[in-house]
Symmetry: C5
Subunit: 105 residues, 5 copies
Amino acid sequence: MFLARVTGSVVSTHKVESMVGQKLLTVDPLRIDATLQATLKPLGRTFIAVDLVGAGEGQIVMIVQGSSARMTDETAKLPIDAAIIGLVNEVSAHGKEIYSSSTSA
Amino acid sequence: MFLARVTGSVVSTHKVESMVGQKLLTVDPLRIDATLQATLKPLGRTFIAVDLVGAGEGQIVMIVQGSSARMTDETAKLPIDAAIIGLVNEVSAHGKEIYSSSTSA
Amino acid sequence: MFLARVTGSVVSTHKVESMVGQKLLTVDPLRIDATLQATLKPLGRTFIAVDLVGAGEGQIVMIVQGSSARMTDETAKLPIDAAIIGLVNEVSAHGKEIYSSSTSA
Amino acid sequence: MFLARVTGSVVSTHKVESMVGQKLLTVDPLRIDATLQATLKPLGRTFIAVDLVGAGEGQIVMIVQGSSARMTDETAKLPIDAAIIGLVNEVSAHGKEIYSSSTSA
Amino acid sequence: MFLARVTGSVVSTHKVESMVGQKLLTVDPLRIDATLQATLKPLGRTFIAVDLVGAGEGQIVMIVQGSSARMTDETAKLPIDAAIIGLVNEVSAHGKEIYSSSTSA
Protein backbone atom coordinates (compact mmCIF):
# COMPACT_ATOMS: atom_id res chain seq x y z
CA MET A 1 0.00 0.00 0.00
CA PHE A 2 1.11 3.62 -0.13
CA LEU A 3 0.43 6.97 1.46
CA ALA A 4 -1.15 9.63 -0.78
CA ARG A 5 -2.79 13.04 -0.64
CA VAL A 6 -6.22 13.43 -2.22
CA THR A 7 -5.78 16.16 -4.85
CA GLY A 8 -9.17 16.22 -6.58
CA SER A 9 -11.85 14.25 -8.36
CA VAL A 10 -12.83 12.85 -11.75
CA VAL A 11 -16.25 12.96 -13.40
CA SER A 12 -16.93 10.30 -16.03
CA THR A 13 -20.53 9.99 -17.11
CA HIS A 14 -19.88 7.55 -20.00
CA LYS A 15 -18.22 4.56 -18.38
CA VAL A 16 -18.42 0.80 -17.89
CA GLU A 17 -21.75 0.15 -16.21
CA SER A 18 -20.40 -1.47 -13.07
CA MET A 19 -18.48 1.75 -12.31
CA VAL A 20 -21.64 3.89 -12.13
CA GLY A 21 -21.98 5.42 -8.65
CA GLN A 22 -18.34 4.96 -7.66
CA LYS A 23 -16.62 8.03 -6.16
CA LEU A 24 -13.41 8.64 -8.18
CA LEU A 25 -10.69 10.72 -6.52
CA THR A 26 -7.29 11.75 -7.85
CA VAL A 27 -4.40 11.07 -5.47
CA ASP A 28 -0.70 11.95 -5.43
CA PRO A 29 1.53 9.28 -3.82
CA LEU A 30 3.74 10.46 -0.94
CA ARG A 31 7.09 9.32 0.39
CA ILE A 32 8.90 10.05 3.66
CA ASP A 33 11.56 12.62 2.75
CA ALA A 34 14.77 10.57 2.57
CA THR A 35 17.08 13.36 3.75
CA LEU A 36 15.40 14.90 6.78
CA GLN A 37 12.99 11.99 7.31
CA ALA A 38 10.63 14.42 8.92
CA THR A 39 8.13 15.32 6.21
CA LEU A 40 5.94 13.67 3.58
CA LYS A 41 6.87 14.61 -0.01
CA PRO A 42 4.67 14.13 -3.13
CA LEU A 43 5.98 11.96 -5.98
CA GLY A 44 4.20 14.19 -8.52
CA ARG A 45 2.28 11.25 -10.03
CA THR A 46 -1.53 11.04 -10.38
CA PHE A 47 -3.66 7.97 -9.82
CA ILE A 48 -7.44 7.59 -9.74
CA ALA A 49 -8.76 5.60 -6.79
CA VAL A 50 -12.24 4.50 -5.75
CA ASP A 51 -13.00 6.04 -2.34
CA LEU A 52 -14.27 3.58 0.30
CA VAL A 53 -13.87 5.77 3.41
CA GLY A 54 -15.33 9.20 2.58
CA ALA A 55 -12.03 10.96 1.91
CA GLY A 56 -11.90 14.63 1.03
CA GLU A 57 -9.51 16.85 -0.92
CA GLY A 58 -6.23 17.48 0.93
CA GLN A 59 -6.54 14.49 3.23
CA ILE A 60 -3.73 11.93 3.62
CA VAL A 61 -5.02 8.44 2.84
CA MET A 62 -3.87 4.82 2.49
CA ILE A 63 -4.23 3.32 -1.01
CA VAL A 64 -4.17 -0.36 -2.04
CA GLN A 65 -3.25 -1.25 -5.64
CA GLY A 66 -3.77 -4.12 -8.07
CA SER A 67 -6.20 -7.02 -7.66
CA SER A 68 -6.21 -6.40 -3.90
CA ALA A 69 -8.30 -3.26 -4.54
CA ARG A 70 -11.12 -5.73 -5.24
CA MET A 71 -10.85 -7.43 -1.82
CA THR A 72 -13.82 -5.58 -0.26
CA ASP A 73 -17.54 -6.31 -0.61
CA GLU A 74 -18.12 -3.03 -2.47
CA THR A 75 -15.36 -3.52 -5.01
CA ALA A 76 -15.23 -7.31 -5.49
CA LYS A 77 -16.66 -7.21 -9.04
CA LEU A 78 -15.33 -3.85 -10.22
CA PRO A 79 -12.68 -3.24 -12.89
CA ILE A 80 -10.50 -1.21 -10.52
CA ASP A 81 -6.81 -1.34 -9.58
CA ALA A 82 -6.70 1.27 -6.79
CA ALA A 83 -8.90 2.01 -3.75
CA ILE A 84 -8.70 4.34 -0.75
CA ILE A 85 -9.00 1.98 2.25
CA GLY A 86 -8.11 4.29 5.13
CA LEU A 87 -7.90 7.90 6.32
CA VAL A 88 -4.47 8.42 7.92
CA ASN A 89 -4.41 9.94 11.42
CA GLU A 90 -0.68 9.71 12.05
CA VAL A 91 2.61 8.79 10.41
CA SER A 92 5.64 8.23 12.67
CA ALA A 93 9.13 7.73 11.29
CA HIS A 94 12.54 7.43 12.90
CA GLY A 95 11.04 7.83 16.34
CA LYS A 96 9.15 11.07 15.55
CA GLU A 97 5.59 11.89 14.57
CA ILE A 98 5.97 13.41 11.11
CA TYR A 99 2.28 13.80 10.26
CA SER A 100 -0.88 14.14 12.30
CA SER A 101 -4.29 14.82 10.78
CA SER A 102 -5.28 16.77 13.90
CA THR A 103 -2.47 19.34 13.52
CA SER A 104 -2.10 19.48 9.73
CA ALA A 105 -3.64 22.17 7.50
CA MET B 1 -6.52 3.61 -12.44
CA PHE B 2 -4.99 6.51 -14.34
CA LEU B 3 -5.92 9.38 -16.62
CA ALA B 4 -4.65 9.18 -20.21
CA ARG B 5 -5.06 10.81 -23.60
CA VAL B 6 -5.89 8.55 -26.54
CA THR B 7 -3.05 9.12 -29.04
CA GLY B 8 -3.82 6.61 -31.78
CA SER B 9 -4.53 3.01 -32.69
CA VAL B 10 -2.84 -0.32 -33.39
CA VAL B 11 -3.68 -2.78 -36.17
CA SER B 12 -2.66 -6.40 -35.56
CA THR B 13 -4.13 -8.91 -37.99
CA HIS B 14 -2.03 -11.88 -36.80
CA LYS B 15 -2.87 -12.23 -33.10
CA VAL B 16 -4.13 -14.60 -30.42
CA GLU B 17 -7.59 -15.65 -31.55
CA SER B 18 -9.48 -14.34 -28.53
CA MET B 19 -8.22 -10.82 -29.34
CA VAL B 20 -9.85 -10.75 -32.79
CA GLY B 21 -12.38 -7.90 -32.96
CA GLN B 22 -11.00 -5.95 -30.02
CA LYS B 23 -10.43 -2.21 -30.61
CA LEU B 24 -6.80 -1.44 -29.65
CA LEU B 25 -5.95 2.20 -28.86
CA THR B 26 -2.62 3.74 -27.86
CA VAL B 27 -2.78 5.97 -24.78
CA ASP B 28 -0.35 8.33 -23.04
CA PRO B 29 -0.76 8.47 -19.24
CA LEU B 30 -1.34 11.94 -17.75
CA ARG B 31 -0.52 13.50 -14.39
CA ILE B 32 -1.72 16.68 -12.70
CA ASP B 33 1.15 19.14 -13.12
CA ALA B 34 2.84 19.15 -9.71
CA THR B 35 3.93 22.80 -9.81
CA LEU B 36 0.92 24.78 -11.00
CA GLN B 37 -1.57 21.98 -10.30
CA ALA B 38 -3.75 23.42 -13.02
CA THR B 39 -3.06 21.33 -16.10
CA LEU B 40 -2.74 17.71 -17.16
CA LYS B 41 0.75 16.73 -18.39
CA PRO B 42 1.66 13.62 -20.45
CA LEU B 43 4.19 11.15 -19.00
CA GLY B 44 5.47 10.40 -22.53
CA ARG B 45 4.83 6.65 -22.16
CA THR B 46 2.72 4.52 -24.53
CA PHE B 47 0.34 1.75 -23.54
CA ILE B 48 -2.14 -0.23 -25.64
CA ALA B 49 -5.61 -0.53 -24.11
CA VAL B 50 -8.77 -2.31 -25.22
CA ASP B 51 -11.51 0.29 -25.68
CA LEU B 52 -14.80 -0.48 -23.90
CA VAL B 53 -16.48 2.95 -24.20
CA GLY B 54 -16.03 4.13 -27.80
CA ALA B 55 -13.13 6.50 -27.16
CA GLY B 56 -11.62 8.57 -29.96
CA GLU B 57 -8.21 10.07 -30.62
CA GLY B 58 -7.45 13.08 -28.40
CA GLN B 59 -10.02 12.20 -25.75
CA ILE B 60 -9.10 12.01 -22.05
CA VAL B 61 -10.02 8.60 -20.67
CA MET B 62 -9.79 6.48 -17.50
CA ILE B 63 -7.66 3.32 -17.78
CA VAL B 64 -7.62 0.27 -15.49
CA GLN B 65 -4.50 -1.95 -15.44
CA GLY B 66 -3.57 -5.50 -14.53
CA SER B 67 -5.96 -8.39 -13.91
CA SER B 68 -8.71 -5.86 -13.11
CA ALA B 69 -8.87 -5.05 -16.85
CA ARG B 70 -10.59 -8.46 -17.12
CA MET B 71 -13.37 -7.55 -14.68
CA THR B 72 -16.00 -6.81 -17.35
CA ASP B 73 -18.18 -9.24 -19.29
CA GLU B 74 -16.46 -8.33 -22.57
CA THR B 75 -12.92 -8.80 -21.29
CA ALA B 76 -13.25 -11.58 -18.69
CA LYS B 77 -11.41 -14.20 -20.82
CA LEU B 78 -9.01 -11.96 -22.72
CA PRO B 79 -5.22 -11.82 -22.35
CA ILE B 80 -5.26 -8.07 -21.62
CA ASP B 81 -3.71 -5.91 -18.89
CA ALA B 82 -5.24 -2.50 -19.75
CA ALA B 83 -8.74 -1.32 -20.70
CA ILE B 84 -10.41 2.05 -21.24
CA ILE B 85 -13.37 2.01 -18.82
CA GLY B 86 -14.52 5.63 -18.95
CA LEU B 87 -14.55 8.85 -20.98
CA VAL B 88 -13.55 11.70 -18.66
CA ASN B 89 -15.85 14.76 -18.56
CA GLU B 90 -14.07 16.71 -15.83
CA VAL B 91 -10.99 16.69 -13.62
CA SER B 92 -10.96 19.00 -10.58
CA ALA B 93 -7.88 19.52 -8.45
CA HIS B 94 -7.06 21.82 -5.57
CA GLY B 95 -10.51 23.33 -5.70
CA LYS B 96 -10.40 24.21 -9.42
CA GLU B 97 -11.67 22.55 -12.57
CA ILE B 98 -8.50 21.78 -14.52
CA TYR B 99 -10.05 19.85 -17.41
CA SER B 100 -13.47 19.75 -19.01
CA SER B 101 -14.25 17.75 -22.13
CA SER B 102 -16.84 20.38 -23.12
CA THR B 103 -14.30 23.23 -23.28
CA SER B 104 -11.17 21.35 -24.35
CA ALA B 105 -9.84 21.21 -27.92
CA MET C 1 -0.35 -4.03 -23.12
CA PHE C 2 2.64 -2.41 -24.81
CA LEU C 3 4.40 -2.19 -28.14
CA ALA C 4 7.86 -3.76 -28.36
CA ARG C 5 10.53 -4.75 -30.85
CA VAL C 6 11.79 -8.35 -30.75
CA THR C 7 15.55 -8.03 -30.15
CA GLY C 8 16.64 -11.65 -29.76
CA SER C 9 16.13 -14.93 -27.96
CA VAL C 10 17.03 -16.81 -24.78
CA VAL C 11 18.10 -20.44 -24.48
CA SER C 12 17.54 -22.09 -21.09
CA THR C 13 17.95 -25.84 -21.02
CA HIS C 14 17.73 -26.20 -17.23
CA LYS C 15 14.33 -24.75 -16.31
CA VAL C 16 11.02 -25.43 -14.59
CA GLU C 17 9.54 -28.40 -16.40
CA SER C 18 6.36 -26.70 -17.55
CA MET C 19 8.47 -24.18 -19.48
CA VAL C 20 10.09 -26.83 -21.69
CA GLY C 21 9.25 -26.18 -25.34
CA GLN C 22 8.27 -22.54 -24.88
CA LYS C 23 9.84 -20.10 -27.35
CA LEU C 24 11.51 -17.29 -25.28
CA LEU C 25 12.19 -14.00 -27.05
CA THR C 26 13.80 -10.84 -25.71
CA VAL C 27 11.82 -7.64 -26.38
CA ASP C 28 12.49 -3.92 -25.94
CA PRO C 29 9.37 -1.87 -25.08
CA LEU C 30 8.60 1.05 -27.41
CA ARG C 31 6.88 4.40 -26.90
CA ILE C 32 5.52 6.94 -29.36
CA ASP C 33 8.13 9.70 -29.41
CA ALA C 34 6.57 12.44 -27.27
CA THR C 35 8.11 15.36 -29.18
CA LEU C 36 7.58 14.63 -32.85
CA GLN C 37 4.91 11.98 -32.23
CA ALA C 38 5.90 10.40 -35.50
CA THR C 39 8.25 7.54 -34.58
CA LEU C 40 8.50 4.64 -32.18
CA LYS C 41 11.37 4.93 -29.68
CA PRO C 42 12.85 2.07 -27.57
CA LEU C 43 12.79 2.39 -23.77
CA GLY C 44 16.11 0.50 -23.55
CA ARG C 45 14.66 -2.14 -21.21
CA THR C 46 14.73 -5.91 -21.81
CA PHE C 47 11.92 -8.36 -21.04
CA ILE C 48 11.59 -12.04 -21.90
CA ALA C 49 8.22 -13.01 -23.39
CA VAL C 50 6.75 -16.31 -24.48
CA ASP C 51 5.95 -16.10 -28.21
CA LEU C 52 2.40 -17.15 -29.17
CA VAL C 53 2.31 -15.78 -32.75
CA GLY C 54 5.57 -16.81 -34.45
CA ALA C 55 7.37 -13.49 -34.06
CA GLY C 56 10.85 -12.95 -35.46
CA GLU C 57 13.78 -10.70 -34.59
CA GLY C 58 13.15 -7.06 -35.50
CA GLN C 59 9.39 -7.35 -35.66
CA ILE C 60 7.10 -4.96 -33.76
CA VAL C 61 4.77 -6.93 -31.50
CA MET C 62 2.07 -6.48 -28.85
CA ILE C 63 2.95 -7.78 -25.36
CA VAL C 64 0.60 -8.53 -22.45
CA GLN C 65 2.02 -8.56 -18.89
CA GLY C 66 1.17 -10.02 -15.51
CA SER C 67 -1.37 -12.74 -14.81
CA SER C 68 -3.14 -11.86 -18.08
CA ALA C 69 -0.23 -13.50 -19.94
CA ARG C 70 -1.79 -16.77 -18.71
CA MET C 71 -5.18 -16.05 -20.33
CA THR C 72 -4.62 -18.30 -23.37
CA ASP C 73 -4.99 -22.08 -23.67
CA GLU C 74 -1.25 -22.51 -24.27
CA THR C 75 -0.13 -20.45 -21.28
CA ALA C 76 -2.88 -21.03 -18.70
CA LYS C 77 -0.68 -23.14 -16.38
CA LEU C 78 2.71 -21.57 -17.05
CA PRO C 79 4.78 -19.49 -14.63
CA ILE C 80 4.99 -16.57 -17.05
CA ASP C 81 4.32 -12.84 -16.72
CA ALA C 82 4.74 -11.71 -20.36
CA ALA C 83 3.53 -13.08 -23.72
CA ILE C 84 3.62 -11.88 -27.32
CA ILE C 85 -0.07 -11.94 -28.39
CA GLY C 86 0.08 -10.09 -31.70
CA LEU C 87 2.26 -9.07 -34.65
CA VAL C 88 1.72 -5.34 -35.27
CA ASN C 89 0.85 -4.30 -38.85
CA GLU C 90 0.28 -0.60 -38.20
CA VAL C 91 0.50 2.08 -35.54
CA SER C 92 -1.29 5.38 -36.18
CA ALA C 93 -0.90 8.39 -33.90
CA HIS C 94 -2.10 11.97 -34.07
CA GLY C 95 -3.83 11.29 -37.37
CA LYS C 96 -0.75 9.85 -39.12
CA GLU C 97 0.51 6.33 -39.77
CA ILE C 98 3.80 6.20 -37.84
CA TYR C 99 4.63 2.53 -38.40
CA SER C 100 3.70 -0.05 -41.00
CA SER C 101 5.18 -3.53 -41.10
CA SER C 102 4.88 -3.51 -44.91
CA THR C 103 7.16 -0.48 -45.36
CA SER C 104 9.52 -0.91 -42.39
CA ALA C 105 13.01 -2.40 -42.62
CA MET D 1 10.20 -9.86 -2.99
CA PHE D 2 12.50 -7.08 -1.82
CA LEU D 3 14.66 -6.05 1.09
CA ALA D 4 13.52 -3.01 3.08
CA ARG D 5 14.19 -1.12 6.29
CA VAL D 6 11.25 -0.46 8.61
CA THR D 7 11.13 3.35 8.96
CA GLY D 8 7.99 3.89 11.02
CA SER D 9 4.28 3.26 11.38
CA VAL D 10 0.87 4.48 10.24
CA VAL D 11 -2.22 5.00 12.38
CA SER D 12 -5.56 4.90 10.54
CA THR D 13 -8.62 4.70 12.76
CA HIS D 14 -11.16 5.22 9.96
CA LYS D 15 -10.53 2.39 7.50
CA VAL D 16 -12.10 -0.55 5.70
CA GLU D 17 -13.40 -2.85 8.40
CA SER D 18 -11.33 -5.89 7.48
CA MET D 19 -8.17 -3.84 8.09
CA VAL D 20 -8.99 -3.18 11.76
CA GLY D 21 -6.28 -4.66 13.99
CA GLN D 22 -3.63 -4.92 11.29
CA LYS D 23 -0.19 -3.51 12.20
CA LEU D 24 0.81 -1.02 9.45
CA LEU D 25 4.51 -0.21 9.10
CA THR D 26 6.24 2.14 6.66
CA VAL D 27 9.22 0.61 4.84
CA ASP D 28 11.93 1.94 2.54
CA PRO D 29 13.07 -0.56 -0.15
CA LEU D 30 16.82 -1.31 -0.22
CA ARG D 31 19.20 -2.33 -2.99
CA ILE D 32 22.72 -3.75 -2.90
CA ASP D 33 24.96 -0.81 -3.76
CA ALA D 34 25.89 -1.43 -7.42
CA THR D 35 29.37 0.12 -7.21
CA LEU D 36 30.97 -1.28 -4.08
CA GLN D 37 28.48 -4.15 -3.73
CA ALA D 38 29.16 -4.13 -0.04
CA THR D 39 26.32 -2.12 1.49
CA LEU D 40 22.54 -1.85 1.37
CA LYS D 41 21.26 1.49 0.04
CA PRO D 42 17.72 2.91 0.44
CA LEU D 43 15.69 3.72 -2.70
CA GLY D 44 14.04 6.64 -0.91
CA ARG D 45 10.52 5.31 -1.58
CA THR D 46 7.85 4.65 1.08
CA PHE D 47 5.45 1.71 1.14
CA ILE D 48 3.01 0.61 3.82
CA ALA D 49 3.13 -3.10 4.64
CA VAL D 50 1.14 -5.29 7.00
CA ASP D 51 3.53 -6.81 9.55
CA LEU D 52 3.27 -10.59 9.96
CA VAL D 53 6.51 -11.21 11.92
CA GLY D 54 6.69 -8.60 14.69
CA ALA D 55 9.13 -6.26 12.96
CA GLY D 56 10.38 -3.09 14.65
CA GLU D 57 11.64 0.27 13.46
CA GLY D 58 15.13 0.08 11.92
CA GLN D 59 15.00 -3.64 11.21
CA ILE D 60 15.77 -5.07 7.74
CA VAL D 61 12.87 -7.15 6.51
CA MET D 62 11.65 -9.13 3.48
CA ILE D 63 8.51 -7.76 1.78
CA VAL D 64 6.19 -9.54 -0.67
CA GLN D 65 4.04 -7.43 -3.05
CA GLY D 66 0.86 -7.77 -5.05
CA SER D 67 -1.75 -10.53 -4.71
CA SER D 68 0.92 -12.76 -3.15
CA ALA D 69 0.70 -10.61 0.01
CA ARG D 70 -2.65 -12.37 0.52
CA MET D 71 -1.11 -15.87 0.48
CA THR D 72 -1.09 -16.33 4.27
CA ASP D 73 -3.93 -17.36 6.57
CA GLU D 74 -3.94 -13.94 8.28
CA THR D 75 -4.08 -11.91 5.08
CA ALA D 76 -6.07 -14.11 2.67
CA LYS D 77 -9.14 -11.85 2.67
CA LEU D 78 -7.50 -8.46 3.20
CA PRO D 79 -7.29 -5.61 0.67
CA ILE D 80 -3.50 -5.45 0.91
CA ASP D 81 -0.69 -5.44 -1.66
CA ALA D 82 2.37 -5.61 0.63
CA ALA D 83 3.27 -7.70 3.69
CA ILE D 84 6.40 -8.18 5.82
CA ILE D 85 7.01 -11.96 5.69
CA GLY D 86 10.47 -12.23 7.24
CA LEU D 87 13.04 -10.58 9.51
CA VAL D 88 16.40 -10.63 7.72
CA ASN D 89 19.37 -12.05 9.66
CA GLU D 90 21.97 -11.88 6.90
CA VAL D 91 22.53 -10.67 3.35
CA SER D 92 25.56 -12.00 1.47
CA ALA D 93 26.62 -10.66 -1.92
CA HIS D 94 29.60 -11.28 -4.17
CA GLY D 95 31.05 -13.73 -1.69
CA LYS D 96 30.91 -11.36 1.31
CA GLU D 97 28.46 -10.87 4.18
CA ILE D 98 27.19 -7.31 3.62
CA TYR D 99 24.59 -7.23 6.39
CA SER D 100 24.08 -9.08 9.64
CA SER D 101 21.34 -8.25 12.10
CA SER D 102 23.62 -9.34 14.97
CA THR D 103 26.31 -6.73 14.18
CA SER D 104 24.19 -3.91 12.75
CA ALA D 105 23.13 -0.82 14.71
CA MET E 1 9.98 -12.36 -17.26
CA PHE E 2 13.45 -10.81 -17.07
CA LEU E 3 17.11 -11.72 -17.19
CA ALA E 4 19.09 -11.28 -13.96
CA ARG E 5 22.40 -12.11 -12.39
CA VAL E 6 22.38 -13.90 -9.02
CA THR E 7 24.31 -11.59 -6.68
CA GLY E 8 23.94 -13.30 -3.32
CA SER E 9 21.59 -14.77 -0.73
CA VAL E 10 19.33 -13.84 2.18
CA VAL E 11 19.02 -15.62 5.51
CA SER E 12 15.76 -15.10 7.41
CA THR E 13 15.18 -17.43 10.34
CA HIS E 14 12.09 -15.64 11.66
CA LYS E 15 9.59 -15.70 8.77
CA VAL E 16 6.11 -16.76 7.73
CA GLU E 17 5.94 -20.50 8.30
CA SER E 18 5.21 -21.47 4.71
CA MET E 19 8.50 -19.86 3.66
CA VAL E 20 10.63 -22.16 5.84
CA GLY E 21 13.03 -24.17 3.66
CA GLN E 22 12.82 -21.90 0.63
CA LYS E 23 16.18 -20.88 -0.90
CA LEU E 24 16.21 -17.03 -1.13
CA LEU E 25 18.66 -15.47 -3.60
CA THR E 26 19.27 -11.80 -4.37
CA VAL E 27 19.23 -10.95 -8.10
CA ASP E 28 20.09 -7.86 -10.13
CA PRO E 29 17.91 -7.44 -13.27
CA LEU E 30 19.82 -7.12 -16.57
CA ARG E 31 19.07 -5.37 -19.86
CA ILE E 32 20.62 -5.68 -23.30
CA ASP E 33 22.83 -2.61 -23.61
CA ALA E 34 20.80 -0.25 -25.83
CA THR E 35 23.80 1.36 -27.55
CA LEU E 36 26.12 -1.47 -28.54
CA GLN E 37 23.47 -4.17 -28.15
CA ALA E 38 26.23 -6.62 -27.46
CA THR E 39 26.39 -6.93 -23.69
CA LEU E 40 24.11 -7.43 -20.70
CA LYS E 41 24.04 -4.48 -18.28
CA PRO E 42 22.77 -4.53 -14.65
CA LEU E 43 19.91 -2.19 -13.68
CA GLY E 44 21.39 -1.79 -10.19
CA ARG E 45 18.17 -2.95 -8.49
CA THR E 46 17.91 -5.83 -5.99
CA PHE E 47 15.09 -8.37 -5.80
CA ILE E 48 14.77 -11.51 -3.70
CA ALA E 49 13.62 -14.58 -5.62
CA VAL E 50 12.86 -18.15 -4.58
CA ASP E 51 15.25 -20.48 -6.44
CA LEU E 52 13.58 -23.40 -8.25
CA VAL E 53 16.52 -24.53 -10.42
CA GLY E 54 19.62 -24.66 -8.20
CA ALA E 55 21.12 -21.35 -9.28
CA GLY E 56 24.44 -20.14 -7.90
CA GLU E 57 26.05 -16.74 -7.35
CA GLY E 58 27.11 -15.08 -10.61
CA GLN E 59 24.84 -17.13 -12.83
CA ILE E 60 22.47 -15.51 -15.34
CA VAL E 61 18.92 -16.65 -14.71
CA MET E 62 15.33 -16.11 -15.88
CA ILE E 63 12.95 -14.62 -13.27
CA VAL E 64 9.13 -14.58 -13.29
CA GLN E 65 7.30 -11.93 -11.23
CA GLY E 66 3.90 -11.41 -9.66
CA SER E 67 1.23 -14.06 -9.12
CA SER E 68 2.81 -16.13 -11.91
CA ALA E 69 5.69 -16.93 -9.51
CA ARG E 70 3.12 -19.19 -7.79
CA MET E 71 2.41 -21.21 -10.96
CA THR E 72 4.60 -24.20 -10.00
CA ASP E 73 3.81 -27.11 -7.68
CA GLU E 74 6.49 -25.99 -5.20
CA THR E 75 5.34 -22.38 -4.97
CA ALA E 76 1.56 -22.60 -5.48
CA LYS E 77 0.73 -21.69 -1.88
CA LEU E 78 3.65 -19.42 -1.04
CA PRO E 79 3.50 -15.65 -0.41
CA ILE E 80 6.09 -14.95 -3.13
CA ASP E 81 6.19 -12.54 -6.07
CA ALA E 82 9.44 -13.63 -7.77
CA ALA E 83 10.96 -17.02 -8.64
CA ILE E 84 14.00 -18.20 -10.60
CA ILE E 85 12.53 -20.56 -13.23
CA GLY E 86 15.53 -21.11 -15.52
CA LEU E 87 19.33 -21.07 -15.80
CA VAL E 88 20.23 -19.14 -18.96
CA ASN E 89 22.62 -20.86 -21.39
CA GLU E 90 22.55 -18.25 -24.16
CA VAL E 91 21.23 -14.83 -25.04
CA SER E 92 21.27 -13.78 -28.71
CA ALA E 93 20.40 -10.27 -29.84
CA HIS E 94 20.53 -8.51 -33.18
CA GLY E 95 21.85 -11.63 -34.85
CA LYS E 96 24.76 -12.15 -32.46
CA GLU E 97 25.31 -14.32 -29.39
CA ILE E 98 25.84 -11.77 -26.59
CA TYR E 99 26.03 -14.19 -23.68
CA SER E 100 26.90 -17.86 -23.29
CA SER E 101 27.15 -19.58 -19.93
CA SER E 102 29.88 -21.86 -21.35
CA THR E 103 32.26 -18.99 -22.20
CA SER E 104 31.37 -16.50 -19.45
CA ALA E 105 33.37 -16.02 -16.25
